[in-house]
């Protein structure tokens, strides 16, 4: 009976393939409006990389201004025109640069570029699904994201310039074009772009959650999922629950800006002109924004942590230490991240009682983060570490996560935050913990799954060069900035020229700018490696890293539906590396326990008495055999 079913299945699958073979794929349906999750992942990745390069370029522009506030760079005028009259960036444009740099990096690179790429690529491949739950919605998700990017970039070409109220766009500054020119058309475009982005992110998130819950292959129960999938799954839940709140806030801001309501505005006088708005509160925006904004930083870091769990385990040739603890700490972070948003608002004039409460919840969230760090370290212990470029970046992530996480303990403490809030200490903190750490997670993912995405290998040596330059320069850029913050230098200052006590930091700024320029140039090594290898890289083998997860069982050449025949069945967890008694140092998830009798362990059977009995019988037989040989 069972054989018949299997045959039926195979027949059905081959029929499916048959149909695909005849289905004509045009350029438009294959590369542009593709509904294949692998192609959509590549679209997200390449758009993300382009946006990252743009945002990095913006950061170099404002770093130039900070390092040499008195020097003129006539070349800037050639490109920026009136925004850099006489070769010097204008203060309004400086603020626009930091605003758009932040927005692009946080939303377009580290949310869409990271989650969008790897959730799309890995959820079906690692769970054993033919595609996403809704491929059409997946396609829409990418195109809304693309629209958001285009709209955001358009704001550079409007008369009054892009939004310039900081990436958190606090009203009233962001609501009043009279307060800053960027709050005119530029801000409108920012808001439209953000709505498109949230639509994209919600469609993606719903797709990820439904795929993870419904489309796992046979045997893939939740506790056999790789940690990457756990991270993407929880990230998607976070996004679904928090992004709508941002939309609510954004809609109210649009009303305030365009239709004369007063949700965020009250008692405002510009010059001597009294505005009619009454009864609103700017604090309301901050609550709504950070209700998304804080989960957002975990939306950024959790996929990176998931990716590094996988990469560290594969390349240490060891199971990830404390798999269950890793999952529970992710769940803990997910839940806690909803009740810590107030730590961004300790000094806004919010009731101090709330400050105390948010301090407690904030410092609790450090516990699961600490557990994750220690588990990474324990995974490395007595490993057999292969330093692939992906592994280097994953280790870099752990380092940044520690360095940036520890300064979070200062900022999460309300009384210390009084003096550190909105200073360079904050800038240093989040650039390490969510900027550098998350981008390192993303790069680790790119190096690790490039063979899966493009069927070719990236050049490892260029990868080493890229890693070492980026790793060293990132520390050189961000470590000294802590001390500026401890000296009371506020962030988003156009120049340090107006304060006597800031003069001593100008040399540090020059040093930091040079480090940033070197780091930016180091990315050329990556970009060249990436685009060159797509076309000319060495053709990838089936399982280049000798990993256990399902994606390496698919053929190197992509096909719609991922597996040519039946979807493989999963028998074991994804981390059986270097298991004693096994011949190889890895056992893929698709290998049943019956084929690995020599390496099975009691806990593998999860209380399945029948399987335990068979194992015991086998062991007894083995012992008897041994005895006869000895005799």
């Amino acid at each position: 009976m069972s054989t018949i079913t299997i045959q039926n299945n195979q027949h059905h699958d081959s029929h499916d393939d048959h149909a695909h073979g005849h289905h004509k794929e045009t350029f438009l349906s294959k590369y542009v409006f593709s509904m294949d999750h692998k192609m959509i992942a590549k679209q997200f990745l390449i758009t993300g990389i382009i946006m990252a390069v743009i945002a990095m370029g913006l950061s170099i522009l404002f770093r130039l201004q900070l390092a040499w506030p008195d020097r003129s760079f006539p070349i800037l005028e050639t490109f920026l025109g009136k925004w850099a009259e006489g070769g010097r960036i204008r203060p309004e444009f400086y603020l626009a640069l930091v605003t758009i740099h932040g927005t692009i990096m946080v939303f377009f690179v580290l949310t869409a570029g990271l989650s969008g790429t790897f959730s799309n690529l890995l959820i079906p491949l690692q769970l054993g699904a033919r595609d996403m739950a809704s491929p059409f919605m997946n396609m829409l998700s990418y195109w809304f994201f693309f629209t958001a990017c285009v709209v955001m970039m358009c704001s550079f070409f409007v008369q009054t310039g892009p939004a310039s109220a900081g990436w958190t766009v606090y009203p009233p500054l962001s609501a009043l074009p009279k307060a800053i020119p960027g709050s005119g058309t530029g801000m409108t475009l920012w808001l439209i772009s953000m709505i498109c982005f949230v639509v994209s992110s919600l469609m993606g998130g719903i797709n990820y959650v439904s795929t993870v819950l419904n489309m796992r292959t046979k045997g893939m129960d939740l506790w056999k999922m790789p940690l990457t999938i756990w991270a993407f799954f929880l990230t998607a839940i976070l996004g679904i629950l928090s992004f709508p709140v941002l939309v609510a806030g954004v809609v109210l801001l649009i009303f305030d800006r365009s239709f004369g309501t007063s949700f965020y505005l009250s008692d405002i006088v510009i010059g001597t002109q009294v505005l009619p708005n009454e009864g609103g509160s700017p604090i309301l925006w901050q609550h709504l924004f950070w209700f998304l904004g804080h989960p957002e930083v975990y939306i950024v870091i959790m996929p990176a942590l998931g990716i590094s769990s996988e990469v560290i385990s594969v390349n240490s040739r060891k199971p990830i230490f404390g798999y269950h603890a890793m999952v529970y700490s992710l769940i803990g972070i997910t839940i806690l991240s909803f009740i810590v948003w107030g730590h961004h608002m300790f000094v806004t004039g919010m009731n101090p009682l709330l400050g105390g409460v948010f301090m407690i919840t904030t410092l609790i969230i450090a516990v699961p983060s600490a557990v994750k760090t220690f588990n990474y370290l324990a995974t490395l212990w007595r490993g057999n570490i292969r330093f692939t470029p992906a592994m280097l970046f994953a280790i870099g992530l752990v380092s940044f996560f520690i360095s940036g996480g520890l300064t979070g303990i200062f900022l999460g403490n309300a009384s210390l935050d009084i003096n550190l809030h909105d200073t360079y200490f904050v800038v240093a903190h989040f650039h390490l913990v969510m900027g550098s750490a998350a981008i390192f997670g993303m790069l680790a993912g790119v190096y690790h799954w490039f063979p899966k995405m493009f069927g070719r290998m990236m050049n490892a040596k260029l990868g080493y060069l890229h890693f070492w330059l980026t790793f060293i320069c990132a520390y050189l850029v961000f470590f000294p900035l802590h001390f500026l913050g401890l000296d009371g230098v506020p962030r988003r200052y156009y120049a340090f020229t107006e304060f006597e006590f800031m003069q001593k930091w100008v040399t540090v700024n020059i040093f930091v700018t040079w480090a940033a320029i070197i780091a930016a140039l180091a990315q050329v090594a990556f970009l060249f490696n990436f685009f060159y290898s797509i076309f000319k890289g060495k053709v990838a083998p089936q399982n280049p890293w000798e990993a256990n997860t399902l994606e390496w069982t698919t053929p190197v050449e992509h096909l719609h539906g991922n597996w040519p025949g039946e979807i493989p069945t999963v028998y074991r967890w994804p981390y059986d590396y270097s298991k004693p008694g096994a011949e190889e140092d890895f056992i893929p998830q698709t290998v049943p326990f019956s084929l690995t009798m020599s390496s099975n362990m009691p806990h593998d059977f999860e209380g399945n008495t029948e399987a335990e009995r068979i194992q015991e019988e086998w062991m007894a037989a083995q012992e008897a055999k041994q005895k006869t040989i000895v005799d």
């Binding site: 500054l173 009294v274 060891k318 407690i360 003096n419 040596k461 001390f483």
Partner: protein, 415 residues
């Protein structure tokens, strides 16, 4: 076949070089023509383009160098492979050693940062609650530095010692509940201690019991793009009410003189406060969000339009004492804006002077009242014959700075 490919590649490369050279020269020629045609151009861009081209060429040269080194390594490795010798370069060992080196150099770098840049930070807190914040900070710094150093030593040492070797298999070690419990509980306990201390410090800052014998001096600070206004309460010790709807050119804060408390209120160009006396700051904003930031006193609170916020603190070190302590005769306390508020955000400051009670008493009587004859007319109050209030004792330069800030504000408005 491969030879032909090589030749054709070479031809293509040669063509590309010729084409680039041609394009460049024609571009430069055009530029030269353009500059010749328009001699009125304010900046001669040619040397600039040349210097940009120079840097670009330098970078390309560097890339070329890296490519050559890469090829050389590749050739070396291939010859080793062809001779069946073991792999030439053990990249795992190279990277592992680099991690070890990074650890050593990095530790020294951290030490250097802590001692050199660490000495350039704010001097000791000049307020009562600031001392508690500093204690809290030092405790947190000690704990986090220990964790930072220890975990990084572990991270990079493991990377170094457990690098790949073909002879060895990794140790299968999926979990250890006892160990996991330990490193859940220890951070939890340490953080609980920090939370508790932080919470108590926070409460002591924001929930003060007023001492009837030492009532705080109220000072109102109003922020606007890109200036601060300071208002002292006058003899009655009460800062009167104001109403933003009354703001006019002459009444910049919108003070309502129907409230008798306002009649004796004074303005000042700098914040002068007596030492060891509590000061209650009343923070308001006229236009957008600003942040009142006074780092030497560990004081910061946003000023919010439509909302009044309060911060009470007690300065403990006079400006003169601080000049001695920091060994800097030019030392000044400042307060400035730390919340992004527009194009002038980077220059929105005022001087703070902490003085003895006697000096304060002498200074405060010299400050002009907010009420002047223009406002008296407006509110139908009796005029004063001689309104020659003593001119501001503030240094002229800060006044000049203020007016320039106002000017730039007006400019921004015009745009």
């Amino acid at each position: 076949m491969s030879l032909r490919k090589f030749i054709s590649n070479k031809t293509i490369a040669g063509l590309a070089v010729i084409l680039t050279v041609f394009a460049n020269t024609s571009v430069f020629a055009q530029e030269a023509a353009a500059t010749a045609a328009a001699p009125a151009k304010p900046i001669d861009m040619e040397p600039i383009y040349k210097s940009i081209a120079f840097y670009a060429l330098l970078f390309l040269l560097l890339c070329l160098f890296i490519a050559i080194v890469g090829k050389a390594i590749r050739v070396y490795e291939l010859t080793r492979e062809a001779q069946d010798k073991p792999a030439a370069i053990n990249w795992n060992a190279v990277n592992a050693s680099l991690f070890a080196l990074f650890l050593i150099v990095g530790l020294y770098g951290v030490y250097w940062e802590y001692t050199v840049h660490g000495n350039m930070i704010l001097p000791e807190a000049a307020s009562e609650h600031g001392k508690k914040i500093d204690e809290m900070f030092n405790l947190t710094l000690i704990i986090t530095t220990i964790v930072f150093i220890a975990t990084h030593i572990i991270l990079f040492a493991f990377s170094y010692f457990y690098k790949h070797s073909g002879k060895r298999k990794a140790y299968y070690y999926p979990h250890n509940n006892a160990l996991e419990r330990i490193w859940t509980i220890i951070p939890a306990v340490v953080l609980s201690v920090l939370v508790l201390m932080g919470f108590l410090t926070w409460r002591s800052i924001f929930y003060k019991v007023e001492d009837p014998n030492n009532k705080p001096l109220s000072v109102e600070i109003t922020s606007q793009q890109f200036a601060w206004s300071i208002r002292y309460p006058g003899k009655d010790g009460v800062v009167g009410v104001k109403n933003y709807k009354m703001i006019t050119g002459t009444n910049a804060l919108g003070i309502d003189f129907k409230d008798k408390n306002n009649l004796d209120d004074q303005t000042a160009d700098e914040l002068v406060i007596p030492v060891n006396k509590p000061v209650r700051l009343i923070l308001t904003s006229k236009d957008v969000l600003h942040s009142f930031y006074m780092p030497n006193f560990r004081v910061q609170l946003n000023t919010v339009p439509g909302m009044v916020s309060y911060f009470e603190f007690t300065p403990t070190i006079t400006t003169a004492d601080m000049q001695v302590k920091t060994n800097d005769p030019a030392f000044k306390y400042l307060f400035y804006c730390s919340k992004i508020c527009g194009s002038g955000h980077y220059n929105m400051q005022k001087v703070v002077r902490v003085v003895s009670q006697e000096e304060y008493n002498a200074w405060i009587v010299k400050q002009p009242t907010y009420l002047n004859n223009d406002l008296r007319k407006q509110f139908n109050l009796p005029l004063v014959a001689d309104p020659a209030a003593p001119a501001a004792a503030a240094p002229a330069d800060s006044a000049a700075k203020d007016s320039s800030a106002v000017k730039s504000n007006q400019l921004a408005l015009k745009k």
